[in-house]
Amino acid sequence: MALTTAPGRTARTGPTGPRRTRRGAGRARLGEGLAGYVFLSPWLIGLMGVTAIPMLLSLWLSFTDYDILTPLSEVRWVGLANYERMFTGDPSYWHAVRVTLTFALVAVPLKLAAALGVALLLNRTWRGVGLFRGLFYLPSLLGGSVALAIVWVNMFNRDGAFNSFLALFGIEGLPWVSDPDWALETLMVLAIWQFGAPMVIFLAGLKQIPTELYEAAAVDGAGAWRRFRAVTLPMLSPVIFFNLVLETIHGFQGFTAAFVLSNGTGGPVDSTLMYTLKLYISGFTDLEMGYASAMAWVFLLAIALITAVFFGTGRFWVHYSDGDDR
């Protein structure tokens, strides 16, 4: 928790009031600290009430048989049983892990590539570029909305807009969302299509690259591809890193679209059973909140681990331009 302690600050302000006695300074420090907490209190209460305490509670619940209907005072401690069941006794858990990994491994890189590609195109000054930037960003603004997922499902139904479009070229479409071989792929396309947020960040990053670098490279005879590889990519690597971490976490948490597409079941035949959806079903449909809590904690650790791996390997490919080689 980021609770900055008062002493550091009073030490700095100390010299301005040289006539203060020790006792007076102590009291002032106390008062200052208290005032700080009072100002912080809305946030502190929020953090405690809706984040920290529920999280700790869920950690405790993950070792119990809590079913959400039983009062907390009556839940039974079951030790590691929930974790054991997750790892050894529930094949659909591993299925959900596989689905989620597949989804993240495919959708995240493609989404980033699309975002970067479009950002490069839009990083020029031509008439109406602002409009295009807005249009490409729009899908992300609608982000996790249920409405968008519903539109998507209808577009990709067997008699949806997409198949009608294919029919114009004499191609017979597939039942994209109700075919277990294609439902997850359709979700991936939806996720990739929402590349606007990383695109905007890429655009900002591209604007930061000094034009002298490109000019110098051009003078040295570097072609477009070479300039992209030798200037753009390294200069952009901190932004790429940022987007990669953010989008990976995002990808793992994909829920809304899968929920809407499958009516909350993860179907057809579990093909869209994302991790978070499995967690939701366990907690709310099967009323196994203890088990769901255990799943949530494993999820948290897994994401922390993946992020740590990114930060560990980032050292080798992320270049910060401010001189000191980190």
């Binding site: 079913d67 006794g89 529930d90 659909s92 067997r158 009516n263």
Partner: protein
């Protein structure tokens, strides 16, 4: 660690005056408050034994449904307030999707509604955890009048010997078919009592003549499976156990594999579409099949989504396998401070002629048989009339109601869907899918 014993109890009292630092104590106090609030709410939920029914009462009521049901229910409750001015209602309603999530969350937060709507998916779950009030003493004392109820309908609210819910209406399984389509091609209509084999043969014939598959493949549909099981002398549940074996499931999946192979049903992706809970996607109204397997009281809703004439008969096989099912129940929260009032409201909604007339058949046929007869006489909506007529006809052939589905039922349902779809998409043979289903069920009801 138990939250009630954690933060404050662990602090030795002697230490406090020795270290006059405010921060840890402040934080500790905050933690204690944050922990105590939900606990206090939880405790309040348990301590509602003394009924304080004098003075004004505000009763919270929660149900799922659409706008139409909301309007009817609000009118009926307003009528109650008119007759009992001291009682007012805090009404909350929402769509089916997410209803049980919210009910569970409210219950967990120690703030469940006094009176709530529930169905047979969850009745045993809630009753088994003592969330619902046992209404037996109220029916014994006559405060809750169930004398005009069909006996099997009342029985279908009993869980482990306790009356956990009272039917808000009655319905039964119904096979809805497209009359217009059949007439146009001069095909016979299905009849109550035809065998499963006859039904599939009929559907094959329909598919050949009309190019519309004759029936929706209901292998993923627990209610069709259930009726079929009862016709084989089995049941979905037997006490706390499954009432069937892997062999039964294999036979069931094989029956429908045969039907699919003969072209009597649509392709798996269309079947999947029809399995969606949404009534507007039922294949009989989207025109992708001539028959849908639904509840008989859904007829008026289905009719709204198609211009074609619809008909309804019993599921194939002996109709005595079907029963008077509570379409949904009213249950009272065990910790409610106003139990007596809540029970009286249930009594009112089921037995007051004006209230029942207002509510009509929105939650199924009225449970009170005398009032049901009255409602069916005065019904004006032709689809409603038809569904009442069919159900009344079937009611004479109904058998005993089974026990209310056990805890874990919602999972058994979703596992059946998964296994059946595995077979439909050809990813498993019927026997393999049946094995998977049995294994998943055993862990679900474990």
């Amino acid at each position: 660690m138990h939250p009630a014993t954690s933060p404050t109890a662990g602090v030795p009292a002697g230490r406090d005056h020795r270290t006059p630092r405010t921060r840890p104590r402040f934080l500790r106090g905050l933690t204690a408050v944050a922990l105590a609030v939900p606990l206090a709410l939880g405790a309040a939920a348990c301590g509602g034994d003394e009924a304080a029914d004098d003075g004004p009462v505000k009763l919270s009521v929660f149900w799922w449904g659409g706008d139409a049901r909301a309007k009817l229910t609000e009118d009926a409750l307003a009528l109650y307030t008119k007759k009992h001015p001291e009682v007012t209602f805090e009404k909350t309603w929402q769509a089916n999707q997410g209803y049980f999530d919210k009910l569970a969350t409210l219950t967990a937060g120690g703030n469940p509604p006094d009176l709530f709507q529930i169905d047979d998916n969850y009745l045993a779950e809630y009753a088994g955890r003592s969330t619902t009030l046992d209404l037996t003493s109220f029916t014994d004392s006559g405060k809750l009048d169930v004398s005009k109820f069909p006996k099997s309908l009342l029985q279908y609210g009993v869980v482990d010997g306790k009356l956990a819910g009272v039917a808000a209406g009655e319905n039964t399984q119904g096979l809805v078919y497209n009359k217009t389509l059949l007439q146009k091609h001069g095909l016979p209509e299905p009849t109550t009592g035809m065998t499963w084999e006859q039904h599939i043969a009929w559907a094959e014939q329909v598919a050949k003549k009309t190019k519309v598959p004759g029936t929706q493949d209901p292998s993923a549909d627990y209610k069709a499976f259930w009726v079929w099981l009862r016709q084989q002398g089995k049941d979905l549940y037997d006490g706390k156990e499954l009432g069937f074996t892997a062999d039964d499931v294999t036979k069931w999946f094989d029956l429908w594999k045969g039907a699919r192979d003969r072209g009597a049903t649509p392709t798996p992706d269309v079947i999947h579409e029809g399995n969606a809970t949404d009534i507007t996607k039922q294949l009989v109204v989207t025109g992708k099949a001539a028959t849908s397997w639904v509840w008989a009281n859904q007829m008026p809703d289905l009719k709204k989504n198609t211009k074609d004439e619809l008909g309804v008969v019993a599921y194939p096989g002996d109709p005595s396998a079907q029963w008077a099912r509570a379409s949904m129940y009213w249950s009272v929260f065990k910790g409610s401070k106003h139990r007596d009032v809540a029970v009286d409201v249930i009594n009112f909604l089921n037995n007051d002629p004006e209230a029942v007339a207002l509510l009509g058949t929105d939650r199924g046929l009225p449970s009170n048989l005398d009032l049901r007869a009255k409602v069916s006489e005065t019904a004006t909506d032709p689809a409603m009339k038809q569904s009442i007529q069919v159900e009344s006809e079937l009611a004479q052939k109904f058998g005993e109601s089974p026990q209310v589905p056990i805890k874990g039922h919602s999972k058994v349902k979703s596992e059946l869907t998964k296994a059946a779809e595995n077979a439909q998409y050809g990813r498993a043979t019927p026997a393999q899918a049946a094995e998977q289903f049995m294994a998943a069920c055993k862990s679900a009801i474990g």
